[in-house]
Amino acid sequence: MTRGSPYAPHTEAETAEMLDAVGVADEESLFDIPADVQFDGDFGIEARSERDVRTELRATFAKNERLTEFLGRGHHSHYVPSLVDDLSRRSEFLTSYTQYQPEITQGFLQVLFEYQSMLVELTGLPVANCSMYDAATALAEAARLAGRVRRVSGTRVLVPEILHAGKRSVLDNYVAGTDLTVETYPMDDGNVDTEALAELADDDVAMVYAENPTVRGAVEENLAAVGDVADDAGALFCLGTDTVALALLEEPASVGADVVVGEADALGMPTAYGMGLGLFATREEFLRQVPGRLVGASEDAGGKRAYTLTLQTREQHIRKERATSNICTNQAWVALRTAMHVAYLGPDGLVELAKRCVTDAESLAADLSDLRGVRAPVHDRHHFREFVARTDQPAKPIASDLESEGFAVHVVGEHELQVCITDLNAGKADALVAAFEEVL
């Protein structure tokens, strides 16, 4: 039983031998810390056994109420097959570092190359990096890229008025050190108000951002028009989406997207309290301005195909303050899980899942609309996974009552609730409708 770290393997004899080899009497002699800043080691944190920590955490998490979540708005989950958990937990993947020695890390590099490749297929854009932190930081990096590239001269970043507050705040912080400014454009019944957008757009615009589906779940019908507005203004068109939506909705490349961002971890991760995986894809033209890691194919000395991190001169460890981003540690392991999940589903499974996101949402909205005092969806649009419902009664008490009945939904307006349905909660949709009826 070690009295120190259970993960330091030293026997007493070994420690003595090593101290001897170094030529000091004890471990303390190795520390060169002036007396006035020495610390006595008393954090007041008691060591616990592995079992006790597990028991404690189980008890802690058991304090979370077991609600069936009909929640989305940017953080989405689908059923993650056991295969993904099992393979991603293999220590060779989980406990490895960034692939600075590609000769002995071909495995992870290939997975990341495959992840990039999947996003290339799904977005239609030829370059995808191998992860950003989340959708918000990916959007923010896209804006910074727009601010850097030569093709763009403007400084205004136009975003929808309904942008998720977290994304907006991150975007503001990421552009605070640049000359970029962020403005909103109006929406029209849940889609981009393209006329209003066109009026706002001029040569001063660096980037126009739109989402499909929107944060309120509406399928965007005017993407090509948005792309045209951006193009006319000499701005980049940045499209926000996710890995499942990409399988069904219009291909970003075909509507003129210059950058695609969003959450890639709608596949691969369980509900994770907002932990994400930033998707980032763009045109070849901007390759050397891309933030984050890129894996490329090359050859080894024997002429065999091999993979390696590439174009590292964009990155902070080489380029320092002139790097395309400060990102170093990214979300590689989440990207690995997402790639595994996409591979598990295959094209059939992925398209099927995406279709269900439309039909399940449509059907749940219809069921809710059948209730007196609810109208859903409020926007006369197609929806993907989620939609907003208008309630005659104030929304907040309804949500609170639903919580008592075991369901979580979003409150997004005084009389507006937002409801998200996926394969994870679809089996409880009828129960949700019944609960609604109960509490209305």
Binding site: S5, Y7, A8, T15, V22, L30, D32, V37, D42, I45, A47, L57, T60, F61, K63, N64, G74, P81, D85, L94, T95, S96, P102, E103, Q106, G107, V111, S117, V120, P126, Y133, R144, S169, V170, Y174, T178, E250, T271, A272, Y273, M275, A301, G302, K304, A306, L311, E315, Q316, H317, S325, C328, T329, Q331, A332, M340, A343, G346, P347, D348, A408
Partner: protein, 462 residues
């Protein structure tokens, strides 16, 4: 060993058929092409790929400044609790367990760093740096104090430069002193009323403790600047020194280094930021506090807002908590002691010059006349992972080595043998290395010159 790409095994194009499509044709794509493989095929694919990958459980991984510790299995199990998988938009009342864990981790990290307030939101160390600098900026701005520079030692991590620049600061590079530490005269010259912050790593990136830290802090504070602690090397100090006690105002923690959460091949990490009381109002929103036995989220009064769409890398934070709880005071202190002992023992067994001493948990050996990168490639042939090479730049042909506390005497001896044997090998052997690995030396130049970044790019080529 060669494993074909998924797309080389199967590539299937599926029409997003209009007939059974739930959407009108003009709102959907035409088709999707992806690999369509069965579960057994995928299991083999990823199992084989995993076996072509070095990890902490493969052997020594002495990357300087990366702190590749063993990642305890049980932390994975703890984080996999289904009750821990909740949506961030849940009402705080319904996720008291999640908030309790966040609160307790804020508390632990505060104690460990000697900091008064902690945010857990930054999703990685670099994001923590950026957050810390934004906090410094907001602080100065709140006082109407317009400062334009951040001072960074030449030996600092590249992220320090990049993070400061991202926040809009001019970066003033501070040359290293002859002894490898901060040169007090140079510092005096670099610091001014324009200085928003000085970013320091301590022990620094060659493992040396900045002995003048109290004077440095005073100098920065006297100029109205703030002192930022880069937590990358905190594993050297656990229980023996706290940034807060040394005069640092802001720090980030790399939980994937110091607190043994897995690196995952390059993330996810987490980069919590701690600050002194005066800066707490500027931390990102929301933070967690305890009120009458309940936990609640709150927005600090002058918060900079958000640096992540939600609350950061939740599962990583759970694992960090579990690790800290497992080790406790004694374990944390022992981790540092053994990390420092291991570095010193390893150096004593290596036939390399180590220009800067006394180092702590890591040291920069020099490959001298040899190319450090070549020596590293040759080390691969001896079955170990080499150290970080050619960095920091002020050490010629640097081999920045950090064995961490998890290696034992035997594996340190193995590592020393690999170092020494590689160094003793001929130039030709070095140039041809590695030869015993999955791939031989990989052509980086052509990879960058003609980037091929997807299987479609490979296909277009052939």
């Amino acid at each position: 060993v060669y494993e074909p790409l998924l797309a080389e095994k199967n590539s299937t194009r599926v029409a997003v058929d209009e007939e059974d499509s739930p959407l009108p044709d003009d709102l959907t794509r035409d088709s999707v092409e992806l690999p369509g493989l069965s579960e057994p095929e995928l299991a083999r694919h990823y199992t084989r790929l995993s076996q072509m990958n070095w990890s902490v459980e493969s052997g020594p991984y002495p990357l300087g400044s990366c702190t590749m510790k063993y990642n305890p299995s049980f932390t994975e199990d703890a984080a996999a609790d289904p009750n821990a998988a909740v949506h961030p938009d849940r009402s705080p009342e319904s996720v008291q367990g999640t908030l309790e864990l966040l609160y307790d981790l804020q508390d632990y990290l505060g104690r460990i760093g000697g900091m008064d307030a902690v945010t857990l939101q930054p999703p990685a160390g670099a994001a923590g740096e950026f957050t810390g600098i934004l906090v410094a900026k907001a602080y100065h701005e709140s006082r109407g104090d317009d400062r334009s520079e951040v001072v960074v030692p030449a030996s600092a991590h590249g992220t320090n430069f990049a993070s400061a620049a991202m926040a809009g600061y001019d970066v003033v590079e501070l040359p290293s002193g002859d002894d490898g530490r901060v040169d007090m005269e140079a510092l005096d010259a670099a610091i001014s009323e324009d200085t928003a912050a000085l970013m320091l790593t301590n022990p620094n990136t060659v493992g040396l403790f900045e002995r003048d830290i109290v004077d440095i802090a005073e100098m920065v504070h006297d100029a109205g600047g703030l002192l930022y602690y880069d937590g990358a090397n905190l594993n050297a100090l656990l229980g023996r020194g706290r940034p807060g006690d040394m005069g640092f105002d802001i720090m980030h923690y790399n939980v994937h280094k110091t607190f043994a959460t897995p690196h995952g091949g390059g993330g996810p990490g987490a980069g919590p930021v701690g600050v002194v009381e005066e800066l707490a109002p500027f931390l990102p929103s929301p933070r967690v506090r305890q009120r009458g036995g309940n936990y609640e989220l709150f927005d600090p009064e002058e918060s900079i807002g958000k640096v992540h769409g939600y609350r950061g890398n939740w599962f990583v934070l759970v694992k960090a908590y579990a690790y800290i709880a497992r080790l406790g005071d004694e374990g944390l202190a022992d981790a540092s002691a053994k990390a420092v002992l291991n570095a010193n023992y390893l150096a004593s067994q290596m036939e390399y010059e180590v220009p800067y001493e006394p180092f702590h948990h890591e040291f920069a050996a020099t490959a001298g006349e040899r190319d450090a990168a070549d020596v590293a490639k040759r080390m691969l042939d001896y079955g170990v992972h080499p150290p970080t090479t050619k960095w920091p730049e002020f050490v010629p042909e640097a081999m920045l080595t950090e064995p961490t506390e998890i290696e034992n005497l035997d594996s340190l001896d193995d590592l020393a043998h690999a170092f020494n044997a590689a160094m003793a090998d001929s130039d030709e052997e070095l140039a041809n290395a590695p030869s015993r690995t999955t791939a031989r030396r990989i052509d980086q130049v052509s990879a960058a010159r003609e980037p091929r970044l997807s299987w479609r790019a490979l296909e277009d080529e052939s």
